[in-house]
């Protein structure tokens, strides 16, 4: 017997907005006499203490994980969404044809796909796939929008860096045609079609400074905008 009988939820029918609604009226705290109150109170307190003591003497119920130490045993669900990556096939060719569907689907403008005219094929192909991790919300819309299933959210979630500009990645390892187009080329042409790309080879942040040791790449038509914005790492783009 406590001050509240938690099992006693009063069931009723009430009408609101012309609809009959079954309601459960939650229990109230009973009125008690002075001594009864003290005894019930003490009993309730003891019950709570028994509960916590039960946890104290059962270390098996501990749920915390020792995070950096348990890296090796960390399990991720298959669909866990962390850093974006381009999928590469067994030959090391990406599947991206540079259609910019992901760029259009992205709600935060975190993706910038730069295409170039292929030196071998003569068609438009992926030059740089720039992903701004610092403004990405991992909403998965880009992956869903991709018509050639070239994108994937990986389980890599540790992204701490000292400079926010280092969070702007170039996702493609090479500039060149996707696997589909590569299949039509011979060995020599494939090598010629591929130009290696670095992880930090993209343009600088919308209003930031160039990265140390990485030459800034100016996107055609955006030279003016890039030069006008003041160099700052604390810009409103955050």
């Amino acid at each position: 017997m406590g001050a509240v009988d938690f099992s006693k939820v009063r069931l009723e029918q009430r009408t609101l907005a012309g609809v009959k609604i079954p309601v459960a009226v939650v229990p109230r705290i009973k009125k008690q006499s002075y001594l009864e109150k003290i005894l019930i109170a003490l009993k309730g307190l003891m019950k709570g203490m028994r509960l916590t003591f039960g946890y104290l003497i059962h270390p098996s119920r501990i749920v915390t994980q020792q995070y950096p130490e348990n890296r090796a045993t960390l399990k991720f669900p298959e669909r866990y969404r962390a850093n974006l990556k381009l999928i590469y096939d067994e030959n090391g060719y990406h599947l991206c044809g540079g259609c910019k569907m992901c760029e259009k689907a992205c709600p935060n403008a975190s993706i910038k796909v730069l295409n170039r005219k292929g030196p071998v094929t003569g068609k438009l192909e992926l030059d740089r796939y720039i992903w701004r991790m610092d403004s990405c919300t991992f909403c998965n819309l880009c992956v869903m929008a991709c018509p050639s299933d070239a994108l994937q959210m990986t389980h890599q979630f540790e992204n701490a860096v000292y400079d926010r500009r280092l969070l702007i990645y170039n996702l493609n390892r090479y500039a060149g045609p996707p696997a589909e187009a590569m299949a039509k080329l011979d060995e020599e042409a494939r090598k010629q079609a591929m130009e290696p790309r670095d992880v930090y080879g993209g343009p600088v942040p919308l209003n930031g400074e160039p990265l140390p040791n990485i030459p800034p790449i100016v996107i055609a038509g955006e030279e003016k905008a890039a030069s006008e914005t003041p160099p700052s790492t604390e810009g409103p783009a955050a």
Partner: protein, 373 residues
């Protein structure tokens, strides 16, 4: 505080009547003043070291116990199972900037943590840790302890007032009201034992429990007094569920909101040492101090119990009380300030008075166990 094993064993071999260090010191006083000075200095240094070690141990214990109450592990990083975590925190606190708020009352702001800490240190001097180890045996020990621990509120009041912060002030005022109220109940509960023991000397009270602890010797009066003392003193030392002066979710830290670095650590340490003092007082008055657990007629059992050194008994009892206080903290929510007052003046105080009355009747009629001793 930590005697050699040999001394301990000498005492258990029936040396309870041996002179304590305090008596030796008072003997020495009549002979050589330098001995006394050395004694005082040694006592100070000894108790400061002891207090620091104790504080660190208690903070570590609280964090570990809290962790396990909450399905956590507690500190795990610094040292095996995090045993050096508190030490690391002390280093951190010492190295932190000591910020004094603008327009604060500087002198008082600086003084307050030392007052809070000093009051506790003074109490530590009179507690009988073992038959031999007691720095001073005052013949008004209980009165002294109650008086001095009430002095600790001055530190909190000053700290809150001088911080020039409304939250601090609220916390300090709450603390003042709380400690003044709950001291009444705590003292009433202590009076019960004083009545039975017939002495105010802490050493005398411990020795009066040779045949049985006061918590059970007095037909229920003892246990009621013990519970009242436990609740009231938990309130006195501002622990949950009575931690309204800090009231983290309401007052953002209460009286120590504006303290940082070493001064904050003094408040922090004082809280834990107060807990130790409460545990020590409860153990001394209700649980027989360093007396081993004896059962009448069970000679073999009593002998085995007697083999355990008294200081282990004392610390065992103290840590049990401290554990119970921590257990309170990690189970209960916090009371409101007026509910706190209601609990004191409408529940604890009337029960305390009735209990004291019953105790005096029992004492007058000799209606308790082993009244002869």
């Amino acid at each position: 505080m930590h005697e050699s094993v040999v001394t301990t064993w000498m005492m258990t071999a029936g040396a309870w009547q041996a002179k304590t260090w305090a008596e030796l010191a008072s003997d020495a006083l009549s002979q050589n003043i330098w001995l006394t000075v050395a004694y005082i200095a040694g006592g100070l240094i000894g108790s400061m070291t002891a207090v620091t070690i104790l504080g660190l141990a208690l903070i570590y214990a609280e964090r570990k116990i809290a962790g396990h109450f909450q399905c956590r592990l507690g500190p795990m990083r610094v040292g095996p199972h995090g045993i050096f975590q508190t030490l690391a925190d002390v280093v951190k606190l010492l190295m932190k900037e000591d910020i004094i708020p603008d327009r604060a009352d500087k002198a008082m702001h600086l003084l307050a943590p030392f007052l809070a800490m000093g009051a506790t240190m003074l109490v530590i001097a009179v507690i009988p840790y073992s038959p031999l180890l007691q720095l001073v045996d005052l013949n008004i020990g209980v009165l002294y302890v109650t008086a001095i621990s009430g002095f600790g509120v001055m530190g909190i009041l000053l700290g809150g007032w001088s911080s020039n912060n409304k939250w601090s002030l609220l916390g300090a005022m709450r603390s003042g009201a709380q400690i003044i109220s709950y001291e009444v109940s705590a003292t009433l509960a202590l009076m019960v034992v004083v009545l039975f023991a017939g002495t105010l000397s802490l050493r005398g009270i411990v020795e009066s429990q040779m045949d049985g602890w006061w918590i059970w010797r007095a037909h229920g009066v003892g246990i009621v007094a013990f519970i009242i003392y436990l609740i009231a003193s938990t309130a006195e030392i501002n622990r949950t569920p009575f931690d309204i002066p800090e009231g983290e979710s309401e007052l953002t830290g209460g009286f120590h909101t504006e303290y940082s670095g070493m001064r904050f650590s003094f408040f922090f340490l004082a809280e834990f040492l107060n807990m130790f003092v409460v545990g020590a007082m409860a153990a001394t008055l209700f649980l027989g101090g360093w007396m081993p657990f004896h059962l009448g007629g069970w000679e073999g059992f009593n002998n085995v119990m007697g083999l355990i050194p008294p200081i282990v008994w004392f610390y065992g009892k103290v840590f049990f009380i401290i554990f119970v206080i921590m257990w309170f903290r990690w189970t209960f929510p916090r009371l409101r300030v007026d509910q706190l007052m209601r609990l004191e003046w409408k529940v604890l105080l009337p029960i305390g008075f009735v209990n004291l009355l019953a105790a005096s009747v029992l004492v007058l009629t000799n209606l308790y166990f082993f009244p002869g001793n």
